[in-house]
Symmetry: C2
Subunit: 308 residues, 2 copies
């Protein structure tokens, strides 16, 4: 089985190199860079969770033309993808800050809708917007950058690094075709599910799938020092037209991918209180690589800013 | 005296309107949006400070051509302007996160220098970089968005709203000509000075001057419900060529502007342990407007994304 199946993406490599250059973290940084959120101990056994995620015009939504994205949905998406990062840690979100850079040509009414989409979503998830910054871009790009804060008990936090050989791989929801179906704008971040998995101690590792099922699964495996045998016959596809390749690599699914100790699989299925689909996708192993249900190697082809 | 001297800038108005639409803040938000940082109570009498600030290519630094800014200095600037926000609250910085959006054409070597400038500056100020995000822009813009975290004792925090009629207005450093002199890339954020002012309880209000002396002074006045008589003969100018107008409106000074109770002015001057220039610029009053040393109204003309 080729080592390249778990090779770092160009982006991962770039940041792995950068983060190696960082000074040693203070002891309070319980979850260092590289997970969905950083986690900082702040007393009473709690961690402050922090993450930042961006939404770029004409990358993550359409800025103009007949198919222009509603600014309200674009704003919603920006916050929702950050909420998904908190969900993946088993935490609950608390505060956010928004840095927005837009061309001067953007109408104030458009900006009000965009910010309104964020504020409405924040209200729905009990998140308070506590700050921000506003700037003009020089060449017409639109970049929203949202910082999310949250909390989780240190004893309950879900990390990418918690999977062991023998653990079962589960996922919420469906995969692929996120852009053509509009899922990428309307998805429900799995905040309730992530929090439930943490508080019921049924998952031992988790992350949210934003760059594609395979590439993100490889990240869990790498962080945990394990491999995974993925049952390709079980991948839930978003539509009847969604191909297996699309389900594995499209990205923007914003579903949770998580590891469950084999002994807890039955309890998970019995107690799962959500309408959200729950699917067992495979089993972690000690191979250090990804393979399919027949043991054939799987190669990663997901979103990578340095490669496509 | 015209009310317009303290009118909101277009950007301030836009955000004032937005923030009015926000749900009520939790009680833990001791410093709500509108100051240099938000402040959240997190136990032991301490506040978590949080702010976000952006650096946009060809707005805040030059991306190409003969006068292209060194990426290392651009990265340094991004962190330094955030450090200045923590300094203005009397706090000390702890952690940062970086969201970067760059065109695919940016060479990896350039990005390494840019990130290197941030990491080196972080090390110098004992700040740990705990996370980030990386994205590609569609139209060639470069946007760095940095979130800074810090701490300050709740009993010592310096707010924009703490100035009273009769308080003296002081400033660190010099004003104007920040771009032509390169000050905007090489300034030293006033972290030591801000922290000293807070711990010695010599200032009762502070902010950092990033958008121009007049417009930022107007923000302190508005937050405090006061006015200010500014002695235009005392404004320290960065160079002999710097005009008064430039000193008042250029922006990117990254100096501290702060209020000192009249009775503490002498102690401040005697104890000031820094080489950084310290200048008394005027006195706060109850007029609710800005005026010069002869009582003539001063109009605000500073950086405003919606107006120029």
């Amino acid at each position: 089985m080729s080592n390249s199946t778990l090779s770092l993406t160009g982006e991962d490599s770039f940041f792995a190199k950068l983060f190696q250059a960082l000074p040693e973290m203070p002891a309070s940084v319980v979850v260092p860079p590289g997970d969905d959120c950083a986690g900082i101990r702040f007393g009473d056994g709690r961690l402050l969770l922090v993450a930042v995620d961006q939404l770029v015009g004409d990358r993550h939504y359409r800025t103009d033309g007949e198919n222009a994205t509603s600014p309200r949905l674009a704003g919603r998406k920006l916050l929702a993808r950050n909420l998904s990062d908190i969900a993946a840690m088993g935490g609950h979100p608390t505060f956010c800050l928004l840095a927005g850079a837009f061309p001067k040509s953007r109408a104030q009414s458009w900006l009000e809708e965009y910010y309104g989409g964020i504020i409405d979503t924040a209200r729905a998830y009990a998140v308070s917007m506590i700050g921000g910054d506003f700037a003009a871009t020089a060449k017409g790009d639109e970049v929203g950058s949202l910082t999310i804060l949250g909390e989780v008990e240190e004893s309950l936090v879900l990390l990418r690094s918690g999977a062991h050989p023998g653990d079962l791989l589960y996922a919420t929801g469906c995969f692929g075709s996120s852009f053509p179906t509009g899922h990428h704008l309307k998805f429900t971040p799995r905040c309730q599910e992530g929090r439930w998995l943490a508080t019921h101690r049924l998952a031992c590792a988790a992350m949210d799938v934003s760059d594609g099922l395979l590439v993100d699964l490889a990240r869990i495996c790498r962080a945990s020092g394990v491999g995974c045998q993925l049952d390709l016959t079980r991948i839930p596809r978003r539509t009847p037209q969604t191909t297996l390749q699309q389900a594995l690599t499209d990205g923007e699914d914003y579903e949770l991918l998580f590891a469950v100790p084999a002994a807890a699989g039955q309890e998970l299925r019995q107690k799962w209180p959500f309408q959200t689909p729950l699917t067992r996708l495979g089993v972690f192993d000690s191979s250090g690589a990804l393979s399919d249900q027949e043991g054939q190697p799987l190669s990663i082809a997901g979103w990578d800013h340095f490669q496509r």
